[in-house]
C-alpha cells in the first residue's frame, strides 16, 4: 500500500516537508509514533517520525532530511508521485501526563517529531519551555508551530545566525544555573545532543525522555536490528520505544550501532548522487 504525495516544501537545505495521503495512518497515529516507508520496489525500509496528521483530510506530514540514498530518493519525489510502501503507525505513543513545568528540547529535524508531543503535553496542562536549535537559521524548523504550543521558547544556532549562538545544551545550562526548575524533560535530536542533554539533567534529577531513531528493518519486533541497551536490559526501539528514559540509555553503544553500515551507505549514496547529476544534465 503506497501513499501519494500531495504537497512538498523545502524547509531547509536537504530538508523536505511532505504531506502524503494515508487515511488510516492519519486516523490512527498518536504523538510519538512513527512509520516505515520504502521508496521503490527494491527499496530499503526506513523509519520516519510523524510530526503531524490531519485525520479529516486523511493526510500525514513527514519531514525528511537527506542523509543517504533512500532519503535522497524520497526527497527527489514530487507532488503526485507515490511512495511505494508506507506502514504504520508504529511504536508506542508518548505517555502524556501533567508533570508541571516541562522542558522540550529539539535539535534540527528532531523538532518535527517533538511538535505533536509538546502539543499534547501543553493540552494536558503542562507549562512548556521549549529550546530549539539548529546549525543555522534555516535549520530551526517549525518554529511557529512550536511557539503555538509552548509557553516560552528559546532559540539557538551553532553559527549564531539566529537566536543565541551555541548549542541547545548551553541554553539549558544557563537556565539551570539561573535556578529555573523543571519537572520533566523531553528531547529529540541528533544522538549526541540527546546524550549531552541527559548528562546535564541527570545531576538535577529531572526525568528526561528521549526518542530514538535507530536502524530498523521490520519495525514490528521481529528482527532486533533496532536494539539498544537501556539500563541493564536490551530493548527493541520499534516495539518497546521509540521513547525511553534517557538517563538509562547507552548512547555510546547506540551511536556505534548507527554507524554499522556506514561504508555501504556511503557507497550507495555516492552512486545515487552521480546518477542524480546525470539526470539533471538531461
Amino acid at each position: 500500500m503506497g501513499a501519494r504525495i500531495l504537497y512538498k516544501e523545502e524547509l531547509a537545505p536537504k530538508v523536505m516537508k511532505f504531506i502524503i495521503e494515508s487515511p488510516t495512518i492519519a486516523r490512527q497515529t498518536k504523538p510519538g509514533q512513527f512509520l516505515i516507508l520504502r521508496v521503490h520496489k527494491d527499496g530499503e525500509r526506513i523509519p520516519l517520525s510523524i510530526p503531524a496528521t490531519d485525520p479529516e483530510k486523511g493526510t500525514v506530514m513527514l519531514v525528511s532530511q537527506e542523509v543517504g540514498k533512500t532519503t535522497a530518493m524520497l526527497n527527489d519525489l514530487e507532488v503526485g508521485d507515490e511512495i511505494y510502501d508506507v506502514v504504520g503507525p508504529l511504536g508506542r505513543p508518548t505517555h502524556i501526563e501533567k508533570f508541571g513545568t516541562t522542558l522540550a528540547i529539539g535539535g534540527g529535524v528532531g523538532i518535527a517529531p517533538l511538535y505533536p508531543i509538546v502539543k499534547e503535553l501543553k493540552k494536558a496542562g503542562n507549562y512548556v519551555v521549549s529550546i530549539l536549535g539548529g546549525r543555522s537559521k534555516e535549520f530551526v524548523i517549525m518554529e511557529n508551530e512550536m511557539r503555538s504550543v509552548s509557553d516560552k521558547v528559546f532559540i539557538c544556532t551553532d553559527d549564531g545566525s539566529y537566536g543565541e549562538k551555541g548549542f541547545v545544551s548551553h541554553v539549558l545550562q544557563h537556565l539551570l544555573k539561573d535556578g529555573r526548575e523543571f519537572d520533566f524533560c523531553i528531547t529529540i535530536g541528533p544522538p549526541i545532543m540527546m546524550k549531552v542533554i541527559c548528562d546535564i539533567t541527570r545531576p538535577y534529577g529531572i526525568k528526561t525522555y528521549v526518542s530514538l531513531n535507530t536502524i530498523m528493518v521490520d519495525g514490528t519486533g521481529m528482527c532486533g536490528a533496532c536494539r539498544v541497551s537501556v539500563g541493564d536490559k536490551t530493548k527493541f526501539v520499534c516495539v518497546d520505544g521509540p521513547e525511553f528514559d534517557g538517563h538509562q540509555v547507552n548512547f555510546d553503544e547506540m551511536m556505534k550501532r548507527l554507524a554499522m553500515y556506514r561504508k555501504q551507505e556511503e557507497l550507495a549514496y555516492k552512486a545515487y548522487l552521480e546518477k542524480r547529476k546525470e539526470m539533471s544534465r538531461h
Binding site: 488510516t24 495512518i25 504504520g88 514490528t220 528482527c223 527493541f236 553500515y261
Partner: protein
Amino acid sequence: MMAEQQKGKKEKKEKIPRQPMPQRPLEERRTTFKEVPLGYSPEQAILEASRCIMCTKPKCVEGCPVEIDIPGFIQLIKEGKFIEAARKIKEQNSLPAICGRVCPQEDQCEKTCVLGIKGEPVAIGRLERFVADYEREHSAVTKPEIPPPTGKKVAIVGSGPAGLTCAGELAKMGHQVTIFEALHLPGGVLVYGIPEFRLPKDIVAAEIDYLKSMGVEVKTNHVIGLTFTVDELFDMGYDAVFIGIGAGLPRFLNIPGENLCGIFSANEFLTRVNLMKAYEFPRSDTPAFIGNKVAVLGAGNTAMDAARTSIRLGAREVHIVYRRTRKEAPARIEELERGEEEGVIFNWLMAPVRFIGDERGWVKAMECIRMELGEPDESGRRRPVPIKGSEFIMEVDMVIHAIGTNANRLLFQKAPDIKLNKWGYIDADPETGATSKPGVYAGGDIVTGSATVILAMGAGKKSARAIHEYIMNKK
C-alpha cells in the same frame, strides 16, 4: 522358467535403491543463491514411486500431520499421471511445492514408512515436490470450484503458512477473505526467513497468486494491533478473525556484549538477505554485513539457513556453536549434511558466555565454555551442563543468534481479552484454534511456539473449518 523369471523380477523390484536427489554442484553452491536440490526427472520419480509397496494400512499417512493420501498419489506417479498426483495431494495440502521442500519428512511420513524398518523409506517428500513442480510447469493452474458467496467476511492476520492455508480453505467455502500482513510482501517465514537456495521465492509468489485468483484480498503493510486493532476488524464488518502472526521476537542470550556491532539475530540477517535482497546490494538498497569468521549460535533450521547464507555471502569460516550434540540438533538431517558439504564447521557442546568488542564497538571474540550432557530436562533432551574452568576465547567478527523466538505481544496490547499461556503464546483450542475471544481463532507458531510449516498449515486448516461453522451459525 517363467516362475523363475517372475521371482527374479520381484527380487529386483525390492532392490531398487532410494533415488538420490540430483543437486547443484558443490563449487557452484557456495556462491549462488539458486536452489540446491534440482528435483527428480520423471523417470526417477517413477522408479522411486515403484519402491512403494502400497501397504493396506499405510503408516506413512499416520505420520503426516495433514494426512495426505500418500499411497494414492504415489500410485498415480507409477502410472505416469503426475498432474493427477499433484491434485490428489492438494485435496489435503494446498502447498505441496513448499512442503515437498521444507517438511521434516524424516520425522513424519518417511519415519513411519514400513520400508524404513529394514532399509530406506520411500522418498515421499521428493515425490511430493516432483509432482507439485510438474503441475506448476506443465498445466494451467485450475481454480477450484468456488460455491456462491456466503456474504461472510473473514480477516486473516499474518500471511505465513497458517494464514495462507486458512485463507485458501475459507475462500474455497465461498467466504470473502482478507489477509492483513505487517510486511510489504506476503509469505511470512517462507519469504523473509527460509532462503532462496532452499525455497525459491517464485514458488511462494505463485501460491499467493493462486489465492488471489480465488478472490482472497491481500493487504500488506498492515500491522494489526497498530494499523487496526482486532476489535476494529470486527467493526469493519469481519465476522471472524484468524491470527497467524508467527513466533515473533528473536531471543538473545542476555550475556555481556550482545549489542556490539556485528552481532545479529538470524531473523535480521536472513530478512536483510531474503526479503530485502541484500545479496544484490547495491542494486537493491538494503545492505547486509558479512564477517570473515562467523559464529552462528544454535543448530536448528534457522541456524543452518544463517550459516549457509553466510557461506554464500563470502564468509571465510562459518561455525555452528551449539550447547548440545549433533544428536539433539533440531535442524533437519538434510540441512546439517548440506551445511557440512558446503564447509560449515560444527562446534558441539559449547556455548558463549560473553562477547568481546574492539575499540570501535565491533565484536572481535567471544568467550566460550565447554558443556557436557547431564540429566534429561523437561523436553526429554539431556541438559547441557557447563564444565567449570573450560572457558576459552574464540575469535570471531560476526555472531548470529539462532536460538529461538519469543511471542510478540504487539497485537495483544490492544486485545487483552485474548488469553495467553504462560509462555506468552495464544491459549487456543488445539482442535479448532478457538481463543478466549469470541470469533477469534489462532494457529501456527503463535500458538505452538516455533514449529513447522506443515503444522502451521494444519492449524490453519482446522481453524478454517471451525470458523466456517462459527460464521454460518452466527445469528
